[in-house]
Subunit: 121 residues, 2 copies
Amino acid sequence: MHALLVIAHGSRRAASNEEVIELAQRLAVQVEGKYQHVAAGFLEMAEPDIATTMQTCIDAGATRIDVLPYFLSAGRHVVTDVPEDVHKVTEANPQLVVNILPYVGSVPSMLDLMAGICLQA
Amino acid sequence: MHALLVIAHGSRRAASNEEVIELAQRLAVQVEGKYQHVAAGFLEMAEPDIATTMQTCIDAGATRIDVLPYFLSAGRHVVTDVPEDVHKVTEANPQLVVNILPYVGSVPSMLDLMAGICLQA
């Protein structure tokens, strides 16, 4: 079973974390042909954390997990922290295939999205 | 003169901040019909900060500034910190027209962008 895990930074503001969870739920509908399980997790400041969310995917039967970093630039979190947390889980589950996808700020369509906001204002 | 200011969080990792500055430069090309000046600034951990970047826009002749929060969810930074820093500058420059645009994570096309990353993987 192929799972998708959206990882966000996490906020002290509960509404911000709920926004990410709702986004993952809406994303699940768009990618349901590929992923049978879609979850959201947080690097820090919010629950569930990365390890817990990955374990939930494994418990649901995931043999492959794609991790989508919901981050805008390649700061320490994208370069070091998220991969480290993911790596701990893969070390403990050597049969699991895990692929960290490009972070959302890295794709060319981000520029179009930003231009769209500016030109519609 | 109408200026656009992209505000990102800021990172201890210089390459991450340069990524934002380059993104703003590429965005400038896409929106040049509307904005005669496009700059990037940072909430914290990096320079220039919001006040400095807004002053640079004013010095360049800006009478209107649109602020694009380069943030993914409505955490404390989007709800409180960025507006507060912007407000201090508008208080000191009452002739300036400032409009805070929707943050990048808030627009419907974000879901398409995320689905695109997942389905291309």
